[in-house]
């Protein structure tokens, strides 16, 4: 299943070497046990059920007319 976007509610989310700070968004697999734990403890909240790395939320830039 595609990753979903979550907003960080804790002071930060320590992801390996990186800190993802509060109010930032992060993509996580909603089916992973770790994601469920973070949701249960209120460290993250779901932002969107559809956004993923394969379906960009950034609108495409129209090509200039020739």
């Amino acid at each position: 299943m595609a990753n979903q976007r979550f907003r960080v509610l804790a002071g930060y989310l320590a992801m390996g070497d990186t800190n993802i700070y509060r109010d930032s968004e992060v993509e996580l697999d909603p089916n992973k046990e770790g994601t469920k734990i973070l949701l249960e403890m209120g460290a993250i909240e779901k932002v969107s059920a559809t956004a993923s790395s394969s379906s960009s939320a950034v609108p495409s830039i129209p090509k200039p007319k020739e």
């Binding site: 002071g11 990186t18 800190n19 700070y21 770790g34 973070l38």
Partner: protein, 151 residues
């Protein structure tokens, strides 16, 4: 009430530093001790001629001193040389300290991060009568410590 089984010691803690926040360096193999002080809330008081107790008001939280004590080694990428460089750079480099009592292992485990500059230099001295390995200490002063969780 039943006694907690969730007590944690610091023997397997994970101790790290960073200058950017996007790449922490694990120095658990050097770090011997983490000390934290400060962060108290200021409080004021005044007494009037009437009554037996004062009037108390409250202010801001004070800065926090976050200290690491590490084994002193000579390597150019070892903690001493790194912290020395951060301290002696003009104006001082930003340093981010992060430590996790449970070693950072496991989703939801707690860690703490403080961002600031080194205010106590890492210089060492020595005692010829001591058999102990040399250690050095730094203190980073930070406005706040953030509590985070491991993903």
């Amino acid at each position: 009430m039943a006694q907690t089984t969730g007590g944690v010691s610091f023997v397997n803690a994970k101790v790290e530093y960073s200058t950017s926040g996007s790449s922490f360096t694990d120095i658990s193999g050097f770090a011997n001790m983490v000390e934290v002080s400060g962060g108290d809330r200021l409080a004021g008081e005044v007494y009037t001629a009437d009554g037996d107790i004062g009037i108390v008001t409250f202010g801001k939280r004070t800065p926090i001193d976050l200290g690491y004590t590490c084994v002193w080694t000579e390597g150019t990428s070892d903690p001493f040389e790194r912290f020395r460089g951060y301290h002696q750079t003009a104006d001082g480099s930003q340093v981010i300290l992060r430590f996790s009592p449970q070693g950072g292992a496991g989703t939801g485990k707690i860690s703490f991060t403080g961002t600031g500059k080194i205010t106590t230099a890492p210089w060492i001295g020595g005692d010829a009568g001591s058999p102990d390995p040399l250690t050095f200490s730094i203190v980073v002063r930070t406005a706040n410590i953030l509590k985070g969780v491991t993903a």
